[in-house]
Symmetry: C2
Subunit: 261 residues, 2 copies
């Protein structure tokens, strides 16, 4: 049985059920485990390694949106710091929920620098090894509004390695990559889409990433067996006590393969 | 610099600081990471392995006290279930805080059996491979009150492998093993002390476990660098993105070695 790719609506439903009285999870719990999984995916693909010019992969620019995805990013930034990385948080719009203030305070307590303006982001992009994209999650629906339109363009243009959380920012949750028309330096209009090198899906992958070609991990090892069955998620088996599992290529290209047949 | 063994008072102070407005952690967050570390310590020392008679190490009886330590146990039981173990929770006194009800509900959602009476515990001990002792933590001060006196005796007499969380239950947090006088089957008084095979200290080890001889892990990879320095914790380096680290024998026997010199 192949893994199930969720519609935006089903992803929302599972999320709500987990945090309902019946599911009994708190946002704090789920975000902690999700953010930890994101940090572990980064550390798996881009391990720290010392060399003559310093430590490679050390600097991670964690770009956070204003919703729960941004919260996952803040948690990931904290764990990356604990793992020995040097994360920087870029969060142009502070989340409104009280939890974001606590999560931000936790990153401050680790002396993780925080950027808020696009101009700071431009400087930040010149001084990072990779990017963790925690801008938009499964509740995103376009179009991309300012300042995030400019943010996505800057990230794409940076040519830096990008790890996206759950859904690459700007993609449609169900339809996948969406070309956005942006002006290049000459003022000409060009089509652009953020194409991450690594993706970490949370709970279960979303329909929009079915054709995704990069390395693809799954995190969020907390979905009760009964919910996995009820929604026929067919999640792959995590190994040992791992919090992430890499999805095999066959799973990733389900759609393509069936189109070829 | 050797790792610091905490007094009960300092352990309390660090815990409060982490959850203060300044530390900004929620109990949900810390308990989630602590419980995950406990489950990982169990899975490290007692990995699941299939053999002719079934799967060894599969059944884990998680004994939970009424305080935060019991909460760590409930989280550990949940993660153990996600790892493929078959945990059972024994919790004779339900914790009063709202969080315990949520954590218990989460274990119910995974169909983890729950025992509450000493008689059920006696049956449970006959049908388990190992025990996770999450009864008393760093805020314990003796004597051991009913029903936990009987519970500790039953656990000791079971001769099953025991993994203790933070401080072996019944031990003095600072002084270590405390012999308790109990009646054996003949009615004779004998001295007894719970001696776990594995210990997982959380945040930092407590003074009472300094002479502990079994395998000793540290978990709780969330203490900010500034707090580690302020309290001169000298924590060992966790590897990669591990959530636990095993303490070397040299660290464990600090006290003994200095006595021998």
């Amino acid at each position: 049985m192949s893994i199930r790719y969720l519609t935006a609506r089903l992803a929302q439903q599972i999320d709500e059920e987990l945090m309902s009285t019946a599911g009994a999870f708190s946002l704090d719990q789920l975000m902690e485990l999700a953010g930890l999984a994101c940090a572990q995916a980064v550390a798996t693909v881009y391990p720290l390694s010392k060399n003559n010019s310093g430590t490679s992969n050390e600097k991670v620019l964690v770009c956070c949106g204003p919703g729960n995805q941004g919260g996952d990013g803040l948690v990931a930034a904290r764990h990356l710091s604990m793992f020995g990385y040097k994360p920087t948080v870029f969060m142009p719009k502070a989340g409104s929920k009280e939890i974001y203030q606590r999560l931000q305070k936790q990153t401050e307590n680790l002396s993780i620098p925080s950027l808020t303006t696009v101009s700071q982001l431009q400087d930040g992009l010149k001084d990072t090894d990779l990017i963790l994209d925690a801008i938009f999650g499964f509740s995103f629906s376009g179009p991309v509004r300012p300042p995030f339109d400019e943010v996505l363009t800057l990230i794409s243009k940076s040519k830096l390695p990008v790890v996206s959380v759950d859904i690459p920012s700007g993609w449609d949750v169900e339809q996948g990559p969406v070309q956005r028309e942006v002006a290049n330096t000459d003022g000409k209009k060009v089509e652009e889409v953020l194409m991450p090198d690594v993706l970490i899906s949370l709970t279960a992958p979303k329909a929009g990433v079915r054709g995704y070609k990069g390395r693809h991990f799954l995190g969020g090892r907390f979905v009760p067996w009964s919910m996995q069955e009820k929604y026929e998620l067919n999640l792959p088996q995590y190994q040992g006590f791992d919090q992430i599992v890499e999805l095999p290529r066959a799973e990733r290209n389900d759609n393509e393969q069936s189109q070829k047949l």
